[in-house]
Symmetry: C2
């Protein structure tokens, strides 16, 4: 472990960036100093870091000199522009955008699932999409035991997945409606208050959204098994924090609900919450602020021979983004991988 | 057609009962008189019927003398108690509760799907569960063309499905939260405001909810094909009106998204709303107050050979309950079936 680790958070003023600073402080990440970076617009403002405050500095190509580790949550185009310069400076990047996730040169990592993928990193490591992270944490122990062949997932995604502007949009639309005014539509294509939008990220040529295809492609990359077929419907719901997912799986080997529950009970990062008689099941309001991926409603799917249904909930800003990125950083430290082998790989 | 048709609505003060009266008036159902019936608690109150008001009378075993048709939306136990006496009086009952749905003596009817099942009715006809109605309206044309083998459905159900107390609960919890108070929990087991509850109706021994098993069993009865295997996850979401459903189907014959769209475009009761490029897809807020079942996000499921995904939305109080019951009544009239052949069949 390096004696004096300098850590930067790029996109420090966003919902995920703030949570990254909060998680770094709360887990006592061994940083000798932490830099908060954001666009010039935010430079000079302050963000909390534990009991302290950090003055936000402008993100530039030169920001990463002498920095050992950078957590990026600044959007895909910012990441494409600046992460290569960070890596070129010898700074290892953990990036929360979708920019590098399907790049063969970049590991896509959920520490509970494929930490070994970090061993061959080239300076930029991708943090998966929030809905994918919580799904693979729940599916990994079942896949190891019974071989998942197919996944049908429907999501119930919180507005915090869109960042602070998503949270503000739901809040202001609810206030407007409850005061008899027309809700103003700014962030989403349609009203989100008391509505469900089957539309997250942009539509692609195959009529799926990019969010849906992220769940398809990222799952096979993280699970390292192209034999897992995934189909997804991603839906934004009027919830502030916490993504919920109805997940149906088909396995090669039969798994009873009881066996699945036992496997999940000892799986890393999972908390089983499954006692219908006591009306106990995972819920977004309970998951908010928590580290675990909560799994419940575990039941055999009687429509096929080897099927299971699960209800999986996690804090999308935390395990779905900031916490997972910090866990990757912790794993890099533990494995002594905080060095860039080929600094110029990503600079064009 | 009878010259002077007397119609009763039992449970006339509830959310669905009021909508039944509204739909009867709006569609000019040929009633010479309409009786509003409810529990003794509501007797003497008034409910709207078109431009008029009706005085609510107490529901008793004698309420149905001289009544030709009764639409019930008064809960399962009330229906079990009074519907047999209505039928014994020669009054045809269309019942919205779950009491008679799986009874072999009672047809379970969605007029767009299996109107012929009315031909052999015995005085009590069951109106299906709201989530099932909108699903089978969308699935019927696809089943006829390609043979549906399996359905995986996840629902996003509005609080109006719980009646007026569900609507009141969401509204008051939102007000309390926005005023910094703890939300009071009365109707649902947990907070519904800004949350998702994977729990509708009671839990059964197989760990599914009764709502989920209704979707399994009612679908095969209405579609008259036990070969259709269904698995469901039913979820309450903080939406006032309009149930949404993410439906994945596997068919015997390959159907392209384009073929499915063409079949649905001419299907009775369906409105296709599927233009992602214009951000057009079905939404709860648009479906509220409408008759149609809206279908969109029609796309091929690349995880299996013959799979499709659909997003189906309808007004749960309207097509999911009141409108479907009135459409059954219209079909009974059209087929001259407003008579009870075996009046004592259901009286114990």
């Amino acid at each position: 472990m390096k004696k004096s680790l300098v850590v930067a958070v790029a996109g420090a003023t966003g919902a995920v960036g703030r949570e990254m600073l909060s998680v770094l402080a709360e887990r006592n990440f061994p940083a000798s100093s932490v830099l908060a970076l954001a666009s010039s617009r935010s430079a000079g403002s302050r963000v909390p870091y534990g009991d302290d405050e950090l003055v936000v500095r402008e993100l530039t190509r030169e920001s990463f000199r002498g920095v050992n580790l950078a957590l990026f949550s600044a959007g895909g185009s910012t990441s494409l522009e600046y992460a290569p310069y960070a890596a070129a400076s010898g700074c290892v990047v953990v990036d929360n955008s979708s920019a590098w996730r399907m790049d063969d040169r970049c590991p896509l990592v959920v520490p509970e699932v494929n930490p070994h993928a970090l061993e061959n990193h080239n300076g930029i490591i991708a943090n998966p999409n929030c809905s994918t992270i919580q799904m693979v944490v729940a599916l990994k122990p079942l896949h190891d035991a019974a071989g998942i062949r197919r996944v049908v997932v429907s999501t119930y995604q919180a507005v915090s997945g869109t960042g602070q502007k998503g949270i503000a949009e739901l809040e202001s639309q609810v206030r407007q409606l409850f005061n008899g005014r027309d809700p103003e539509i700014k962030t989403y294509p349609h009203r989100i208050a008391f509505n469900c939008l089957p539309h997250i990220d942009v539509f692609l040529d195959n009529e799926y959204t990019r969010e849906e295809m992220k769940m398809v492609h990222e799952t096979t990359k993280i699970m390292e098994d192209p034999g897992i077929r995934v189909t997804a419907t991603c839906v934004r719901v009027p919830v502030f924090y916490g993504h919920s997912e109805a997940i149906n799986i088909e396995t090669a080997k039969k798994l009873s609900a009881r066996e699945a529950r036992a496997l999940l009970a000892t799986a890393p990062g999972v908390q089983v919450c499954d006692n219908p008689a006591q009306t106990m099941y995972p819920m977004a309001v309970d998951a908010a602020g928590e580290d675990a991926v909560f799994v419940g409603r575990i039941r055999e799917d009687e429509s096929i021979a080897n099927g299971l249904n699960l209800w999986v909930v996690a804090d999308n800003v935390r395990k779905g983004a900031a916490l997972n990125a910090v866990q990757i950083a912790e794993e890099l430290l533990k494995r002594d991988l905080l060095a860039v082998r080929a600094p110029d790989m990503f600079v064009k």
